[in-house]
């Protein structure tokens, strides 16, 4: 049995334990079945909503908003973080702003953005952008400052000019931090988008599904949507970012492999 299978089994065991606990509480009669449906009910709802395509569309809308916001956050955040680390003026200007804006929960901006940009994609994407950008900026900034000065010296001695120093030394040298920043940013985006969709989306989106289901006491749909949210988040976190990390900074020995 290789490490990969073993870690899958270990992950499976922890999920099964929590699911079993849920099932025991659900069947104990403490809550009415309408409020706390059993796992088979949730599973049936989930399968039905996937089969008729609605859940897939909701997920697609949510993913679209996250991806656009996330890519914009990287496009803004990476250059800004690098500029901050390289130019003291940019750092002096941006650092107080970031320190002041970063602690504001993106969710608390939803009502304001709704008034400015209305209900729908613009607002939700902007909320994602807000949630994601700071992690990218902050980590990129730290990463560039953490680049080993010896690499810069060695590259300089070999005749690297500013431009090539940047692309061939600073960017790869800062990559462990930049990847961590993206990872954090994705998680923050994923949390933010569901929140934003609850009140600033109409008709489509996993957050909207949950909020809409509340009106009709459809707890099975709410839980099914939560499972989808968790599953997609897991896939990105472990598979997408995990593979990026394995193919780059882990292969280069710049970070050690995660256990499990």
């Amino acid at each position: 049995m290789d490490d990969r299978t073993r870690s899958l089994i270990r992950g499976g065991v922890s999920i099964v334990c929590v699911a079993a606990l849920y099932e025991i509480v659900a069947r104990s009669g403490h809550f009415s079945p309408a409020l706390m449906p059993t796992l088979p009910t949730i599973a049936r709802t989930l399968i039905a909503s996937i089969a008729d395509g609605t859940m897939i569309w909701h997920a697609a809308f949510t993913l679209y908003r996250v991806m656009v916001g996330f890519v914009l956050a990287i496009a803004v955040g990476v250059p800004l973080g690098i500029a901050m680390a390289r130019f003291p003026r940019v750092e002096n200007f941006c650092l107080p702003l970031i320190s002041a804006l970063m602690p504001i929960p993106s969710f608390s901006l939803v009502p304001l953005f709704m008034l400015w940009f209305g209900i729908g994609n613009t607002t939700t994407i902007l909320i994602v952008l807000y949630a994601a950008t700071f992690s990218v900026v902050f980590n990129t900034w730290s990463g560039v400052r953490a680049v080993n000065p010896l690499w810069l010296r060695a590259a300089g001695a070999m005749g690297a000019d500013e431009r090539r120093l940047f692309w061939k030394v600073i960017i790869p040298g800062a990559s462990p931090f930049i990847i961590t920043g993206m990872r954090q940013a994705f998680l923050r985006s994923w949390i933010a988008v569901v929140g934003a969709e609850m009140i600033a989306a109409s008709d489509w989106g996993l957050g909207w599904v949950i909020f809409d289901a509340k009106e009709f006491l459809n707890t099975d749909i709410m839980l099914a949507a939560l499972i989808v949210i968790g599953a997609i988040g897991y896939v990105f976190e472990r598979l997408v970012f995990g593979s990026i990390e394995r193919a780059t900074v882990q292969r280069w020995g710049m970070v050690r492999a995660a256990k499990g």
Binding site: N148, L150, W151, R153, A154, A155, G156, A157, M158, G159, A160, D161, R164, K168, V169, P172, G173, S175, T248, V249, R251, W252, G253, M254
Partner: protein, 259 residues
């Protein structure tokens, strides 16, 4: 390959507690293809001097000329090897690291890889072209660093205690290897060390520096035939002479140099 003239070089460091003399009025002429070791106690300015030759530091007074050309910043006429293993780029393979200088020079990919392979063969690492630095031992990483510094064919090789962080056995191997590489390439080498036997093993000439301020105290030629035998009487004689000078240079504190 080319001569180096160091004339009247002085450098002071600005520290929070005032100006600290780094090196003072150093003049040395180094012949083409000469292997020069600089030894001295910590703080004698030997690394400062090397960094000025490398162009990382600019002397306050005096000048350094390599092949008649005044040193102004770093240039591809000099290759540099540092003490720290972390000098290699971890995101590049051994081959990728050795290619770096050639890439900066604009050498086409096929050609630079051919040259890089040749350099890695010179340091006996041809089998590890596609290995990443973190899979290599410290000695192997330092050999890659030497290959990297030689790849773009600089006429001068500057080495700042490259083997100081290696264990004694590996260090002996590396010294033999470096002596071979030098014999084959005939670069002018300036090598900073605090290890006396290393200096006697490698150098044509040893400069002993003394601190406060950093000056060259003695300029000792080593004319023993190569390859040198560290157990021969003459070798030990040379070591003894150097240690005596170092004892003076360090104010009697040279006992630590035996270690």
């Amino acid at each position: 390959m080319v001569p180096i003239e160091i004339s009247g070089v002085t450098l002071t460091y600005d520290t929070p507690s005032g100006k600290v003399p780094g090196v003072k009025d150093i003049s040395v002429a180094i012949k083409p293809s000469e292997f020069v070791c600089i030894v001295g106690p910590s703080g004698c300015g030997k690394s400062t001097l090397l960094n000025m030759i490398a162009g990382f530091l600019t002397p306050a007074e005096g000048e350094i000329r390599i092949d008649g050309k005044k040193v102004d910043g770093h240039g591809l006429d000099r290759g540099m090897v540092f003490q720290d293993f972390a000098q290699l780029f971890p995101w590049r393979t051994a081959l990728g690291n050795v290619c770096f200088g050639l890439e900066m020079k604009g050498v086409p990919k096929d050609e630079r890889e051919k040259i890089a392979r040749e350099q890695l063969r010179l340091v006996k690492l041809e089998k590890f072209c596609s290995s990443y630095p973190h899979h290599m031992s410290g000695g192997m990483q330092q050999r890659v660093a030497i290959a990297r510094a030689l790849a773009y064919n600089p006429s001068v090789l500057l080495m700042d205690e490259p083997f100081a962080a290696l264990d004694a056995l590996t260090r002996d191997d590396m010294q033999r290897l470096l002596a071979d590489v030098w014999r084959e390439t005939r670069k002018t080498v300036i090598y900073v060390t605090h290890n006396v036997s290393e200096a006697v093993y490698l150098a044509d000439r040893v400069l002993v520096m003394s601190p406060h301020p950093g000056t060259v105290k003695i300029d000792l030629p080593v004319t023993l035939p190569r390859p040198r035998d560290p157990l021969s009487i003459e070798f030990i004689e040379h070591q003894k002479i150097l240690l005596d000078h170092l004892g003076h240079a360090a104010g009697g504190g040279a006992q630590t140099q035996h270690a």
